[in-house]
Structure formats: structure tokens, C-alpha cells
């Protein structure tokens, strides 16, 4: 059981995910989302954003891979988790886990207490996508901490 941090960035899109964290296609293991930070680092302006966390059941197309960084130096790089950012097509799946409207100038952080983490099943390429379905085209960042189970 190790904890990893995934930081995903893109120019916000109303249709495409900022990024996603999925279980590996082979030998998947459960993981849970325990901490989430959402914000925009573009030039400050008053734009409205809706942030969503959605269930994903397939790999995204395109984009770049994101390597989960272990939060403990002694842990190895995540081998059972697959991160992606700025895809050109979202992975399959729906099922909303969180919706939060924010001003571009705001930053949101959510932390799970005991029993409140979002658990993802140990099936291939299953996970969570982070999106901005209502947004302006400015740079946004999502940092998610997950615990591999």
C-alpha cells in the first residue's frame, strides 16, 4: 500500500478531461482517491469553472502520460496505476463523483477522512477522470493523491 501524487495540467476544455487516473490494463489493483486539489494557474480573471470528477472505464486517447510520484521516498513508482493528461479523446465511462463550481481565482481542496475515500475497483483500466465541463480556455491543474490498495 503506497500513496502517490498525480499532477495533471491542460488548457481547460469543456469536452476533454484535464486528466485521468486508471488502474493498469493487466494485474489491476484497487486504489482510492484521498486528496484532491483543483485550480487554475492562468492569468487571474473572473471566469466561472465547473469541476467534475467522473468514473472512467477505459483509457483516454492521446495526451501525455503522467507518472504517479510516491509520497514516501522509499516507495517505488506506481506500476498498477496509469495517469494521463490533456487527452484528445476521453476514456469511456460516466458516473459523477463530484461537481464543484469555482471562480477561476479560487482553489479547491478536498480531503477524505476515514471511510470517505472514493474506491476504484480492481478491474482493467477503471478509474477517475477530472474534467471542466464549463470553463474558459486557461491553464488548469488538478493534483490528486491516491492510495494503492
Amino acid at each position: 500500500m503506497a500513496n502517490y501524487s498525480f499532477t495533471m495540467k491542460r488548457t481547460a476544455s469543456a469536452t476533454l478531461d484535464v486528466g485521468s487516473i486508471l488502474t493498469a490494463a493487466s494485474n489491476p489493483r484497487r486504489f482510492r482517491l484521498v486528496d484532491l486539489i483543483l485550480g487554475a494557474e492562468g492569468t487571474p480573471a473572473d471566469n466561472g469553472f465547473l469541476w467534475e470528477v467522473n468514473k472512467r472505464t477505459g483509457l483516454a486517447t492521446g495526451g501525455t502520460s503522467v507518472t504517479g510520484q510516491p509520497l514516501e521516498d522509499g516507495d517505488t513508482i506506481a506500476s498498477t496505476l496509469v495517469g494521463n493528461q490533456a487527452p484528445t479523446a476521453n476514456g469511456a465511462g460516466s458516473g459523477n463523483k463530484l461537481s464543484i463550481p469555482l471562480n477561476q481565482r479560487n482553489t479547491f481542496r478536498w480531503m477524505a477522512r476515514a471511510g470517505g475515500a472514493i474506491v476504484v475497483p480492481a478491474t482493467a483500466s477503471n478509474g477517475l477522470g477530472f474534467s471542466t465541463p464549463t470553463s474558459s480556455a486557461v491553464a488548469v491543474t488538478c493534483c490528486a493523491h491516491v492510495e494503492e490498495l
Partner: protein, 86 residues
């Protein structure tokens, strides 16, 4: 009783140092994160009488209609069982 079910914490930080803090719980049926409004007398979320855990407004509506507990752990196990059977 609700105090024991606060299973998450959210904070929104503004550009001038404003901070809005609130407690959340995670629906035990669909795992949706729900904001808890303090001292709300008639919340739209509720408790499933099958698993005795907090559920979100949407799942509460479904529970009221069907009286079937769809605890997320059961759903995860079903998904994993189907995956292993492939």
C-alpha cells in the same frame, strides 16, 4: 449522529485569503461526494435502512422507491467478480 459521518473535508481558498470550509460525506451507494450543510433541519440526503450508512439525495430517492440497498462495496465486488470471470 451526523457528526460521526463526516467523511470528508472541503476548503475553497480565494485570491485574497478568503477561506470557505465545509464538511462532506461520501455516498455509500454511489460514492458521490456530498456537502453537509450544518444545522439543516430537513436534509435531502438520508440514511439507507439496509446498510445504515449515509446516502446522497439521488440514492435516497432510489432507496425510497425500491428499498434495495446498493452499497458501493457490493458493486465493486460484483464488478471485480465479472472481470475475473472474463
Amino acid at each position: 449522529m451526523l457528526r460521526n459521518y463526516k467523511s470528508g473535508y472541503g476548503v475553497i481558498s480565494g485570491p485574497w485569503g478568503e477561506i470557505v470550509e465545509f464538511d462532506t460525506f461520501t455516498c455509500n451507494h454511489c460514492q458521490r461526494i456530498v456537502r453537509i450543510i450544518p444545522k439543516e433541519s430537513n436534509p435531502d440526503y438520508g440514511i439507507c435502512m439496509g446498510c445504515f450508512e449515509l446516502i446522497c439525495p439521488r440514492c435516497r430517492g432510489e432507496w425510497d422507491k425500491t428499498n434495495i440497498c446498493k452499497h458501493f462495496e457490493k458493486a465493486l465486488e460484483k464488478e471485480e467478480k465479472e472481470y475475473r470471470a472474463r
